[in-house]
């Protein structure tokens, strides 16, 4: 009788399941293939041993101490949700919903294989129900389905930390985006069984985007703005929930010659982070918290709802700025933190500023006074040769001297000299227009100056105006043993109006 009943029950169960879901009740087993091995499941470390441990949780930016245990244990985690008003920026307050009273919420640290008994409490002063989804949980909703908690109540559920890694946790109560945007996220670290390599400092940093009805730094109490959140237009992008949470006297600290590990999370709700520490290179990055690290990384992407572990060594003192390298977020929305490294300098690695000398770009002359004098005189019709020479001299520096050198001697084999140039002497007598054409159109191909052949490319000086060209040429003609003479603006204008000559044929 009983066997019949159980069979009927089982059959009825299958049928009912089918009726409810509309699918075939029978599973279809995948045919085994010889080639591919099945995806291996993470090792199960067996049941918890020893006495239950009460997890030590820490507030950001601190991290609980490393676990020194070589067996899986039962770990009891108690986390309370508190809704509280705190400053988001100087003079600006915001109602945060928090895990453990902070944004991000308390850092949880367990070992792979641990059985975690999770107690979620919702403060009696809360208005809202809350729950928790831990990305390190394998189970429906990441725990969210089992932890929906009304104000003044406590929920409990238990999970096994099957996979090692650094995982985000967050609230998943409707509307989920709002709960996250109000600060309900944090990190849980599931250490590998052998633990992480020892470092001098471990810190907890978590980025989040915030949406207020008022503008960035608009004073007063700012409510959450759902429309901005849906449109993904944040007002603030912050590390650890508040502007200035990692700057000034709250900056992270280290000494020269130490190792630093940052657990960096991104709660979102919307933005992906391009995480970078200015002045440092990450020796080792566990991208997305995964098992296989990348090395020598400048900027690492941290997805929304994701996390990474970055490690680096400090070599020289200074303030190293943590930023989201979508850089307007750092400078205009607050995504900035500081790691202050103290200790002795090391010039071999970074010297600081060594030389401060003049760099002459185009128009490098600090005082182009003569140029403007000449321009005025020209306009007045009183331009003299002296004016032109003075103006031309000032223009020469930076424009021509770069190649032909300050005293016109050129560079042997590369740039022809202008000083006592037989070519200039010849052209000014026989073909002045051709001379004018050189700065206007440039000169390419073979040319012999003072017995030496040059085959180079002089680009057209298109940035020069007609009177600038006339002043320059007048200066050159009257310098360094050249025959003298004058070139007027009109002469230059006429040559400019002609089409450029064909470049000299290459042979």
């Amino acid at each position: 009788m009983s066997r019949l009943l159980s069979t009927m029950l089982a059959a009825a169960g299958m049928l009912a399941l089918a009726a409810c879901t509309g699918k075939q009740a029978a599973d279809v087993a995948l045919p085994a293939t010889a080639a591919a091995a099945p995806l291996s499941a993470p090792t199960d470390f067996g049941p918890p041993q020893g006495q239950p441990i009460h997890a030590v949780l820490t507030s950001p930016p601190n991290v609980p101490p490393a676990i020194h245990r070589n067996y899986p244990a039962k770990v009891i985690v108690e986390l309370e949700v508190i809704e509280k008003e705190m400053p988001i920026s100087e003079g600006v307050s915001y109602t945060y919903w928090t895990f453990g009273g902070t944004v991000p919420g308390s850092f949880i640290r367990v070992r792979q294989g641990d059985t975690v008994e999770f107690h979620l409490k919702n403060s009696p002063t809360s208005k809202m129900p809350h729950n928790i989804d831990l990305h390190g949980v394998t189970g429906p909703g990441g725990g969210a389905a089992s932890s929906f908690t009304a104000p003044g109540h406590e929920s409990q559920f238990t999970f096994k930390a099957l996979n090692q890694g650094i995982y985000v946790y967050h609230c998943a109560t409707a509307p989920v985006g709002m709960h996250i945007a109000n600060g309900m996220y944090g990190l849980i670290l599931v250490e590998p069984p052998e633990g992480l390599p020892k470092v001098d400092h471990e810190y907890y940093v978590m980025q989040g985007d915030f949406y207020t009805t008022g503008k960035y730094r608009e004073k007063g109490h700012q409510p959450f703005d759902m429309d901005k959140a849906i449109d993904e237009r944040p007002t603030y992008v912050l590390f650890n929930g508040h502007e200035g949470s990692l700057t000034g006297d709250k900056a992270l600290t280290a000494k020269v010659g130490q190792s630093v590990r940052l657990f960096v999370g991104n709660g979102g709700p919307n933005l992906v982070s391009s995480f970078h520490v200015i002045g440092e290179i990450f020796d080792r990055v566990q991208q997305e918290g995964g098992l296989h690290p990348q090395e020598n990384v400048q900027t690492t992407l941290i997805p929304s709802g994701g996390a990474a572990i970055v490690e680096f060594h400090t070599d020289v003192p200074g303030s190293y700025v943590l930023v989201d390298h979508s850089i307007f977020r750092a400078f205009n929305k607050g995504a900035m933190g500081i790691l202050k490294v103290d200790g002795p300098e090391n010039k071999a690695i970074y010297s600081g500023k060594e030389v401060d000398s003049v760099y002459l770009g185009d128009r490098a002359e600090p005082n182009l006074h003569a140029v403007s004098t000449a321009a005025k005189a020209n306009a007045a019709g009183t331009l003299s040769k002296e004016d032109q020479i003075a103006a031309g001299k000032q223009l020469f520096t930076g424009t021509c001297s770069v190649c032909h050198q300050a005293n016109g001697e050129g560079l042997p084999g590369v740039f022809p000299p202008l000083a006592k140039s037989d070519l200039i002497a010849k052209l000014v007598k026989e073909d002045k227009n051709k001379l004018i054409g050189i700065p206007l159109h440039g000169l390419t191909g073979k040319v012999t100056v003072n017995g030496t052949e040059y085959n180079s490319v002089m680009p057209p000086m298109t940035q020069l105006t007609d009177d600038e060209v006339s002043n320059l040429l007048t200066y050159v003609l009257n310098s360094w043993g050249n025959p003298g003479g004058q070139v007027t603006k009109d002469e230059v204008s006429k040559v400019r109006a002609q089409p450029a000559p064909a470049p000299a044929a290459e042979h």
């Binding site: 159980s6 029950l9 009912a16």
Partner: protein
């Protein structure tokens, strides 16, 4: 739903069949009258003294409710068919589940009425009983119901000793609790 005031006052005044006061966490504090498949009416508290497996159902439910009934049967069987164990299923749908419907259902599912009771409340009391049992339900426009499926184990004093949402097969922990309570 005029019962709450009256029934609480009843408790205060002291009812005749309560030898000692009910524990504060006893479900029998809500002395809602139930009418069974034979038409007999009595408060819920008359079941005091015997452990009970309690659930809620409705007769026109074709999918899950027959499984609830069958799971209750199977649980009793798996616990060794103890003599001191009552099985009670109360309808969500007192508008349509009258005494006749209950009796036909009991016959159709071959329920042993020595220890089975199918019952209905007054329409205005259904919600309070469901709230007490922690069962959720919602009436749909077509007369069907959305509802959760829960089995509760009450001790002789009406306190909840175990709950299970597993239907379609027996819940080993629930069965163990029944064994422990009702013996075999």
């Amino acid at each position: 739903m005029k019962r709450l005031l009256l029934l609480l006052a009843l408790c205060l005044a002291g009812t005749a069949h309560a030898a000692s006061p009910l524990p504060t966490d006893s479900l029998y504090q809500l002395a809602v009258p139930l009418t069974d498949q034979d038409g007999h009416s009595a408060p819920l508290a008359t079941r005091r003294g015997t452990p009970q497996i309690v659930s809620m159902f409705y007769t026109s439910c074709t999918m899950v409710c027959p499984m609830i009934i069958d799971t209750m049967k199977a649980t009793r069987h798996a616990a060794g068919e103890p003599a001191q164990l009552g099985l009670l299923a109360v309808s969500f749908d007192p508008e349509r589940d009258n005494v006749d419907a209950l009796r036909r259902y009991a016959a159709g599912h071959k329920l042993d009425m020595r220890y089975w009771t199918l019952a209905r409340t007054q329409p205005q009391d259904t919600r309070a009983l469901a709230a007490l049992l922690g069962v959720q339900y919602r009436k749909l426009p077509d007369g069907d119901f959305n509802h959760s499926s829960t089995l509760l184990l009450l001790d002789g004093e009406g306190r909840i000793v175990a709950r299970s949402s597993i239907i379609g097969r027996t819940d080993p922990e629930f069965v163990a609790a029944v064994r422990k309570l009702a013996g075999s």
